[in-house]
């Protein structure tokens, strides 16, 4: 599979510097709403909680516990704006001092079922748009059925290949490079558990060829039987369907976009880091890695902060731009523009700060049929036609041309010289089709 190369802005040559640890923020928000509905709050206002205490619990015991990422007193429960633009109920914590990260005794032994349950208890929640959180997502069929009662497709598919993704997802990002560069020893610690959980015959770690991890790390991974592969980091090679195809040659069926259907599971290296750390000394997965960048001022900072830290203190520490025009969480091509500086970050992420002249505006002009968008589409769609069909309301025709296969990578909009809002048109079409289905 060949990807079209686009201009990449190297965040910094070589490996990034080690991340700084920030003092605890004034407030931490732990959202109770998420992809699985609402968790029940387990704390009351005024109560003091330990670091790692359970603050929210889903009715379904197969879903991860929500835990306090710092010791503190519960100020209340109120509605917050999440970085993806949703509203959520959240437990508001006032941290008391800068305590050590929360930990508990690590699980002993590696019996997969017990391990899977322990990880869910601990609060591992990586989803990657998958309906199930990380421990369930990478379990072998036996473990999935015993620990989570998941027996239907795709969970009855055995996992052949487990991919640990150490490639940064978007241009300018260096979160995953940082993990491999500075926290890699924990990733090694996670391998045995990942193998036990997934029973995968092959574990592949993918890293950025331009910033390879140290030789010692690679050696210890190889000793554990991990196949380490350096890939050229060309966007969108780190997006799951593309990554799976690059590593295994298999196409992930769309629009389900679940690699499990072809016997592959993918976990992010940031999760592998948290997992290895938990297994080593019991540190709960409540610390996240946040990158703040401003391309205009050439600033790149990495911080380790408690999960649930709002944007404001992180931006203040980075001193990125006093008056940013746009704050994007999730990177330049996939991210969400923020309107609320108090939005809490719950997973490792990339925050891009743009100044007024960096803000890109779209043109609502006609497609000039130049075809630049066609060779860049990783799904081999014809974005020019999809854009036009969605624009003129011909949603069924667009669907027949595999509109649903679009992974919204944004490359067609990135290259379009007419500056058409390609992804917006495509999303509009997808939405309309969903609504039409609901009505009928």
């Amino acid at each position: 599979m060949k990807l079209a190369k686009i201009a990449l802005i190297a965040a910094s040559p070589g490996s990034p510097p080690p991340p700084d640890v920030l003092p605890h923020p004034e407030k931490i928000f732990i959202p109770l709403d998420g992809p699985w509905g609402r968790a029940e709050a387990q704390v009351a206002p005024g109560q003091t909680v330990e670091a790692g205490a359970v603050v929210g619990r889903f009715q379904d015991p197969r879903l991860p516990m929500l835990r306090a990422s710092a010791a503190g007193s519960v100020e209340g429960i109120r509605t917050v704006n999440t970085p993806d633009g949703q509203k959520a109920q959240a437990v508001v914590l006032q941290p008391l001092g800068d305590g050590a990260p929360a930990s508990q005794a690590p699980p002993q032994g590696a019996a997969p079922v017990a391990l899977a349950k322990a990880l869910t208890e601990a609060g591992f929640a990586e989803t990657d748009r998958h309906p199930w959180p990380f421990p369930a997502r990478i379990c072998s069929p036996e473990t999935a059925s015993e620990a989570f009662q998941l027996t239907d497709a795709p969970f009855h598919n055995p996992i052949e290949t487990l991919i640990i993704n150490g490639l940064d997802r978007q241009p300018g990002e260096m979160v995953r490079r940082t993990v491999l560069g500075h926290l890699g020893s924990f990733v090694v610690q996670a391998v045995a558990a990942l193998k036990a959980l997934s029973q995968a015959s092959r574990v592949v770690l993918v890293y950025d060829r331009s910033a390879p991890p140290g030789g010692e790390l690679l050696r210890s991974l190889q000793e554990q039987g991990v196949d380490c592969r350096g890939l050229e980091n060309v966007y969108p090679s780190a997006l799951t369907p593309v990554l799976v195809q690059l590593v295994t040659g298999k196409q992930v069926p769309q629009p389900a976009s679940d690699p499990r259907l072809v016997g592959v599971a993918v976990i992010d290296v940031t999760t592998a880091w948290q997992l290895g750390r938990f297994l080593t000394d019991g540190t709960l997965p409540l610390e996240i890695l946040v990158q703040v960048s401003s391309w205009k001022s050439g600033l790149h900072r990495l911080y380790r902060v408690p999960a649930g830290t709002p944007l404001e203190p992180i931006l203040a520490a980075a001193n990125a731009a006093p008056q940013p025009a746009k704050i994007v969480v999730g990177g330049p091509l996939l991210g969400y523009a923020q309107f609320d500086r108090q939005a809490p970050l719950v997973a490792s992420d990339f925050v891009l700060v743009q100044q007024p002249d960096e803000v890109h505006t779209y043109n609502y002009r006609a497609c000039i049929n130049c075809g630049h968008c066609v060779p860049v589409c990783p799904m081999k769609l014809l974005p020019n036609e999809l854009g036009k069909l969605c624009e003129y309301g011909r949603f069924h025709d667009a669907e027949a041309q595999y509109l649903a296969h679009c992974i919204e990578c944004g490359l067609c909009a990135f290259v379009c010289p007419a500056k058409r809002p390609m992804v917006q048109l495509i999303r509009h079409g997808k939405r309309e089709i969903l609504e039409m289905r609901k009505e009928s």
């Binding site: 686009i6 201009a7 241009p171 369907p241 195809q245 298999k250 196409q251 992930v252 069926p253 769309q254 629009p255 976009s257 259907l261 072809v262 008056q323 940013p324 025009a325 746009k326 704050i327 994007v328 999730g330 330049p332 091509l333 996939l334 991210g335 523009a337 923020q338 309107f339 500086r341 743009q354 803000v359 890109h360 006609a366 497609c367 000039i368 049929n369 130049c370 075809g371 630049h372 066609v374 060779p375 990783p378 799904m379 081999k380 769609l381 014809l382 020019n384 595999y402 296969h405 919204e408 944004g410 909009a413 990135f414 290259v415 379009c416 010289p417 007419a418 500056k419 992804v423 999303r427």
Partner: protein, 325 residues
């Protein structure tokens, strides 16, 4: 302290910086070598024709859009490029009114009637050219002899463009034209079509800047060469050599500049390959068996017409469920 609000918009939040205007600037830069070649061989007349075409194309577009109360898009430069290209395929000897007539037809009939730049199914430059060619063939077919401004001796072997010679005088005469003259452009003809070297410089620039994609020009040249080679192999006394065919006349200009006009050519790889090959073969077919001296303009227009069909050849979409079973 109240801080200014934040801008909110859906992703992506970043753009390559490529614009229509930028593409047109690149096109204009790529045509400069041709313009220079025109000046070098035919003097200021060639430049005058090109400038006149540019000005009338721009004015035509502006007046039309103003009259229709549409946004005036002159600043994107597409009319400049269309005018320039038309000026380069007209003989440097044409009178001014021909330039104006050609550009106005190209812009209004060839482009604006279809909705503007990129929406026209047929190359607008060739529509304008075709119109004046059919209306005033005699005016369009008188060509000056080359008089290089410095350096080279005038190519004195022929008095008409090589394609006319081939048609009228037969294959024996063209054997005497040195290929270096064809390559450098030291033959009678038009500013844009005589010099393969100039077109090649501009074409390579366009491909390097990714304004046009390589399959169309490459397969157009290959198609023309292979088709002519097959004919030549069958009967060398009847059909000219393939290298002559490719170097002489419009083939290079068509491959790089005329066949690649946005909107008129296919966008998928297999489509582009077939389109290129089709253009190349048709050029030779029309040259060999048609009544026109030069087959290129009509070959490209014909292939423009087939583009919607070629665009139906789609690449296999990634992730179709049947394939992954």
């Amino acid at each position: 302290m109240k801080r200014p609000g934040l801008i909110v918009s859906p992703s992506p939040h970043w753009h390559s910086g490529r614009t229509v205007q930028g593409m047109m600037v690149d096109f204009a830069i790529a045509l400069l070598p041709c313009l220079l070649a025109g000046w070098y061989y035919f003097g200021w007349n060639a430049v005058r024709v090109a400038l006149l075409c540019v000005v009338s194309a721009v004015v035509a577009e502006a007046v039309w859009q103003k009259a229709l109360k549409r946004p005036v898009t002159v600043s994107d430069g597409s009319a400049v490029v269309a005018g320039l290209l038309l000026g380069l395929i007209l003989s440097p000897e044409v009178p001014g009114w021909i330039c104006v007539l050609g550009s106005v037809t190209a812009i209004l009939v060839g482009r604006q009637l279809f909705g503007g730049f990129g929406s026209n199914p047929f190359s607008c430059v060739l529509v304008g050219y075709g119109f004046i060619f059919i209306s005033y063939p005699h005016i369009l077919q008188s060509f000056p002899m080359p008089h290089p401004a410095f350096g080279l001796e005038p190519g004195g072997y022929i008095e008409y463009p090589p394609m006319d010679i081939l048609k009228m005088d037969g294959i024996q005469v063209i054997r005497d034209i040195p290929w270096t003259d064809l390559f450098l452009g030291n033959v009678p003809g038009t500013a844009g079509t005589v010099s393969v070297l100039a077109v090649l410089l501009g074409g390579i620039y366009l491909i390097a800047r990714r304004v046009i994609r390589w399959p169309i020009p490459v397969f157009c040249l290959a198609g023309a060469w292979i088709f002519a080679a097959v004919c030549h192999l069958i009967d060398p006394s009847l059909y000219a050599s393939p290298t002559f065919h490719v170097l002489a006349g419009w083939v290079f200009l068509s491959a790089f500049f005329l066949a690649t006009e946005p909107g008129t050519c296919p966008v998928t790889f297999p489509g582009m390959v077939l389109y290129g090959l089709g253009c190349g073969c048709l050029i030779i077919i029309i040259r060999t068996w048609g009544t026109y001296m030069e087959g290129a303009p009509f070959a490209v227009l014909l292939m423009n017409g087939i583009t919607p069909l070629l665009d139906r050849i789609r690449p296999r979409v990634i992730g179709r469920v049947q394939e992954s079973a």
